[in-house]
Symmetry: C2
């Protein structure tokens, strides 16, 4: 066990108290891989300690998923058993933890990219996205190290090194991790406020292979770590988190963008991704590796080819400071600025939250069953806020935040 | 990995082809502990190879279960989430595999025995028992070794030694394991036929601490390995299996019986169990260890204090021949003769299967939400079949089968 019992307990405590903020009487759903069992067991104990009524754990198995994707009949790809959907639907007003950290980076090598993309559990993802956008669940996504993940990252299964990196990014190296998280959340909220005061019309990214303008809504609100459910439960959905983000106008993305970090997507690694946008929509996808998974994704539904998120991260990020590419979006998106195609967050756009999905789509909020982030920031990327007249305000230069 | 890839694949193949006999288009449900993942992954591949439509795996975690039993509110003990019950209900006309092999024999040490017994998932067990007695599922229970289980058995986590023992009991040491199983099933069926020809009125067990008479129905049929579902799918529910068994008249058990092997029950070990019956019902439970779990069980419902099964096993059993106490009923019940309190098998009693539960209970078929086997045979135990006039026919002497 590379993670000490002390660390396991401290991490579980942080996740239950800060990330989920479990309330007395809540069910605590957990979705994890079998490889995460040592951590999940501590989370269960901590959750009951916080007054949970019931801890409802589902362990999934990526090797079984591979067998399904390889050998199941076509009509089963992307299908979920009714009980699996019902379980997630039952999590409204409850807490839900998803644990990340894949067991084997080469697990899906040689599997047909199109079958892999079809194997995504669309109905399940739609329930999750709906619960998230309607703020019905105090949810969080955190990571736990596995030998396979460590091998992806370091070329050897150095679990301890991976855990030490995770440990620092989630601030467990602080004597008072809970207090450190409160300070960190306040700092990110200050950035979001500074952006909101300027009412930018668009964000522009420029750098090698990238000249992209992402148009914003007049009512786009920048947000950061720290959500609150409709029941008033404050939670921190991602640990780590370093971003400020909003939902752009899905009709006003123009130009070309090159990813600056690898993207680990549905078990496969996408590298050297280049995407061109016209009139808001993806019109071309190229990549050194894994382009077919992205192409299948952006063709999924009406909103999968338009942007649902734009997020800014500078070089002060603890994730970025590790110097590690984690090959996991939870970390890598927090190392640097990023955009996501697919579902937008209606809660970030004034007046949008209570509209129907069709009405949201009509006003330029991307509506999709998926949401895929990819990383476009870094030291060579200049980020500006543009006013309605096109005047530019530097936001990030040389990976340093510019706006007070 | 103490179990070689070759063995894993051969075992999964045997389980899918013989134990479950998976049919094309079936869903294959699997219930296993997280520790069984290496085996479950091979079962998934073999099941898809046999034409399964979907392999639906639930991994449970005994450490999370302990946390629930220790710390959850009282009303959650014994409760199952609706999705968990719905999933099992959806398995009618499908295949279902349960994998045994506990991770830690001391996991429940110090946990209140009454809470442990209350923590049993009654509604779930009732669904399983109903599907089994109505022959709606081609199901099987098999085992996979864990370090904790090996430690219970040998005092050290000698996984290889445990696997070699299991491997022999499930006949994977035979060049043609599938053929060996067919022969074995035929041999047990011949014993059941010999018993059925005699139409015994009762079975008597005599030995140290034991003088027990188990009254049979006129229509009690002896059965053995090899069931057939209502859909005509032949399957072998237990691997290993060495028993011939029937359901006795629940009103006609008289005398005292002492268990001859430890019983591993709900995570705790029951040793030196002594049970006294009057008029069919348990009237006293004593044990050197774990009596409270048994007492709580027999008080569960109307049929939990009466016998639902009597089973005969002699010394030719491969399980018995290992000389190992496995501390798992799946094995230990196949080492020697045994009885079970709780639910009877209506399919073993003429004319009973289509009756309501109340009508079955009225005719002396034990009706309960549980079914717990405990072992009462061995070299010192004489087993006789009694005719209606009390005349005795030796069935087992010196652990050898006597009836041709």
């Amino acid at each position: 066990m590379p993670v000490s019992q002390t660390d396991l307990e401290a991490y579980a405590d942080l996740v239950v108290k800060v990330a989920l903020n479990v309330q007395p009487g809540q069910t605590v759903g957990v979705g994890a891989y079998v490889e995460h069992a040592p951590f999940v067991r501590e989370v269960a104990k901590a959750a009951y300690g916080a007054g949970a009524r019931y801890v409802d754990v589902i362990y999934t198995d990526e090797y079984v998923r591979r067998a399904t994707i390889e050998d199941a009949p076509d009509d089963v790809l992307g299908w979920s058993p009714p009980w699996f959907l019902d379980r997630r639907s039952s999590m409204e007003h409850q807490a839900y933890l998803t644990v990340r950290g894949h067991p084997d980076p080469h697990l899906f090598d040689g599997v047909d990219g199109s079958r892999l993309a079809q194997g995504r559990l669309k109905d399940f993802d739609a329930i999750v996205l709906s619960q998230v956008t309607k703020r019905l669940v105090n949810w969080a996504i955190v990571a736990f190290p596995t030998a396979g993940w460590a091998e992806t990252v370091f070329g050897e299964p150095d679990l301890d090194r991976l855990w030490q990196a995770i440990r620092r990014t989630v601030r467990l190296d602080e004597a008072d991790a809970v207090g450190a998280w409160n300070e960190h959340v306040d700092r990110l909220k200050a950035r979001a406020s500074a952006l909101n005061e300027r009412h930018f019309d668009a964000i522009r990214f420029r750098g090698p292979g990238t000249d992209l303008t992402v148009g914003l809504h007049a009512g786009s609100n920048w947000q950061s770590a720290g959500e609150k459910t409709v029941d008033g439960v404050a939670h921190v959905p991602n640990m780590p988190t370093e971003e400020v983000y909003t939902t752009p106008d899905s009709r006003r993305t123009e130009g070309t963008v090159r990813s600056t970090r690898p993207l680990f997507l549905q078990g496969t690694i996408v590298e050297g991704l280049e995407v061109r946008f016209e009139g808001g929509r993806v019109v071309d996808v190229q990549a050194e590796r894994g382009a077919d998974v992205v192409r299948t994704q952006v063709e999924t539904d009406a909103g999968s080819a338009t942007l649902g998120e734009v997020a800014l991260v500078d070089g002060s990020s603890r994730v970025g400071q590790t110097g590690i590419t984690f090959f996991d979006t939870l970390f890598d998106e927090n190392a640097t600025s990023h955009i996501a195609y697919g579902q937008g967050f209606s809660s970030t756009v004034d007046g949008a939250q209570d509209l129907t999905a069709d009405a949201q789509a009509a006003m330029g909020i991307s509506t999709s069953s998926l949401h895929t982030d990819f990383m476009i920031g870094g030291p060579e990327i200049e980020v500006d806020g543009l006013g309605t007249g096109g005047e530019a305000t530097p936001l990030i230069r040389g990976d340093d935040w510019q706006l007070d």
